[in-house]
Amino acid sequence: MLILLAIGYCASALAPLLYKRFRENFGWIAVIFPLFMFFGFLARYPQIAAGQVIRESGPWLPSLGVNFSFLLDGLSLTFSLIITLIGAAVFLFAGAYMKAYAQTGRFYVYIGIFMTSMLGLVLSDNMLLMFVFWELTSISSFLLIGFNHHKESSRKAALQALLVTGGGGLALLSGIILLYNVTGSFEISSFYDKSEAIIAHELYPAIVVLVLVGAFTKSAQFPFHFWLPNAMEAPTPVSAYLHSATMVKAGIYLIARMNHEIGGTPLWQDTILITGAVTMLFSAMLAFKQTDLKRLLAYSTLSVLGTLVMLLGIGSKLAIKAFFIYLIAHSLYKGALFLIAGTLDHETGTRDVRKLGGLYRLMPVTTLTAVLASFSMMGVIPLIGFIGKETVYKSILEVEYWGTFLIVGAVLAHAFVVMVTLFVGFKPFWGKMPVTPRPPHEAALKMLIGPGVLAVLGLLFGLFPNFFIATMLEQSAQSILSETLSLKVSIWEGFNLVLLLSFVTLLLGAVLYLVREKVPGVLQISLPAIARPSVWYEMTIKGMLSFARMETRLVQNGYLRNYIIFFVVTTVFLVSFPLFRSAGQITMVPDFSITFYEGALAFIILVSTLLLVTSKSRLKSIVALGVLGFSIGIIFVIYGAPDLGLTTFAIETLNVVLFVLVLYKLPGFLKLSGSLNRVRDAVIALCVGCTMTLTVLFASSFELSSALKRFFAEASFPDGKGRNVVNVILVDFRAIDTLGEITVLTVAALGVFALLKLRPDRRK
């Protein structure tokens, strides 16, 4: 499977080259790849259906427990088949749809990478490996949403999707790491037996929350749903593929996959149930206001995603069954409808439902496909969507306590979905035909095959549910619940409450449609900003940016003094901790014996320091500096360091020369700082001084036994051939110090040279 994925990535990388060759016919070439994979997976079907699980593993980062482990069971096979099948439809469709775009080659690269990564995601048996693919799908989604990158809205939507899913990804990553810490492994299959241990662990709640945040962001559950409608900025094939059929189901896949391992607790089930239900209802209601074909579909997708999550939250056998049928049904009809929406957009130049109508005469095949897919979506017998909805209702009715609420919500949500379907699947084709930006005509074959196949499959699945779904269902449920699920799927179960609910749903949907069409101004009703998570997102970003701006302006304010104050205060503050902690332990007996000339020297140093600090004349300062330097030189001489004395004198003198050469160009001192600042600086300076004085006193308060001192004294003459120990240290014992030091001098000289000679005002 690793090889398969590698081929996938390579093939994606080759897309632009091939595209250049084939141009018009590239769609036909491109479809080979997903179809090949589809049939490849299909070939495994008997094996999986027989209850086998295919596992492959190879090392990647054994030290960290990350392996190329893949797992093909019912669940992953179902997803793989959906991914590759819809992939094939989309690839073909895009061949025609993307003709008008400039960068179709790149489009295929991204979408190829996406498909491969999505496959990797559902096939991974290693959590971290899965996470890698997870992030890759986010990135390819980002690149695809922003495909129309000249539009600011596209760029914004891409960023939004990336941030929301990326943020969730980080939560997921943390969850994965916690899971590792609990189980000692990243291998999903190894969690299987550790379920109880995980649930009992104190980190369990954190794991659940983190994993679910990851899943919810990816699958656009409330309150993270807002990125998905905005993602409709992407070209329609992308919306059909990533943002309806596959990628958004990754989160659901994750929940399903982890259901046995970390699920089953009230925390897990209730969180999923409530989030799913809220998403289902809330986003369906939001669809009411939409006029854009794709946004209408997007909100209905959200609702369906919510339903799917809710079903997992119910977690009963029936719910899992409903989950599966609904998942497949949705992938088929929504993929088809999205592509049809794309066709309409492509042929008429608009996606506004208010401007579409009466197209059935010009686009008969499209109309037929649309009707078929729409019936499935509305849940009309005998399509798969009908079975899906029936099972959903049935499973909800089983729920205790919450059941009534949930069923009302579900019916309401589905009514909105029906309304959406009426707008997308019927309104454009019937009725009056308004003038559209482009004169419409029937779509190209490439654009018809994909949706057509999906729609027809929806019908076939509905007619022969057991042939297509049942076995798969059992194996998949095995993966989710680890129980066998022998429930027959049947299309007709007689007149019962569920059927009644279905009728109610359809009726309500029609009412909603009519209300929107006939009641003027109903579209103007809007939610308060505070109730819209997308506004939260905007506010977070804006707030973050203005906080960042304020903070940066405050901290990186350009005043060198403030930087230095930060530096100095931090130093003093941190140093004073150990210093004062040690205050009790100091047994300091400083040498207070001070001779007259030492006192005089100290006096001179202190006074000239004061002179320099208060000086208003530059030359006076230099004189004071000279006195200071010479005094320090004398101190060196007094305390047995004639070499230091020599060097100090020489350098002080040359410093004076340099100062003199530089200084007459510099301005006289101006009194720039205010007196308050000066007081503050003086206080800081005094703190520094006191700290350093204390440190020196403390550090010199005890005997120092240095083996180095003894060694140098002994080795200097016999081994170093010199009586001046300091010099021997400099040119022999520690000669490499000196080597570095002369390098510093060299560079300094080169620097001065370059500074003075290479100047912009002297450029030719």
Binding site: T609, Y639, E714
Partner: protein, 121 residues
């Protein structure tokens, strides 16, 4: 004298700190020089003081006998003095060029490289 030197070191540090906090670039240079002196003197003091006995092996002797001034801090200070000389020379010229090029000696007016784009008009 250790006490006195400790006070001197503290005073030099204080003066150096005070000076580098000025707005005039010339004063900042002085401050840096002060801090250099302070650090050197600090190493010297902390390396323990020995009065009047430099580390020279006397004629005729093979090695030094205690007491003698520890030569290692001296070598370190020497290195740091010389490095300091080079670096200070460079800094001095840099500050001069900055003053001449930017036309101000007021550090508070040298903020353009830090400012956020909105502020710079």
């Amino acid at each position: 004298m250790t006490f006195l030197l400790a006070v001197i070191v503290g005073a030099l540090y204080a003066a150096g700190t005070y000076l580098v906090l000025r707005r005039s670039i010339v004063k900042v240079i002085f401050g840096l020089i002060f801090l250099g002196h302070a650090a050197n003197l600090m190493i010297f003091t902390v390396g323990r003081l020995t009065k009047g006995v430099p580390a020279f092996v006397p004629e005729g002797a093979e090695m030094l006998t205690e007491p003698f001034a520890d030569p290692l801090p001296q070598a370190l200070i020497l290195t740091s003095i010389v490095i300091g000389f080079g670096v200070q020379a460079f800094a001095l010229v840099l500050f001069k060029r900055a003053y001449l090029t930017l036309g101000t000696e007021d550090l508070d007016k040298m903020r353009s490289t830090d400012q956020l784009p909105e502020e710079r008009l």
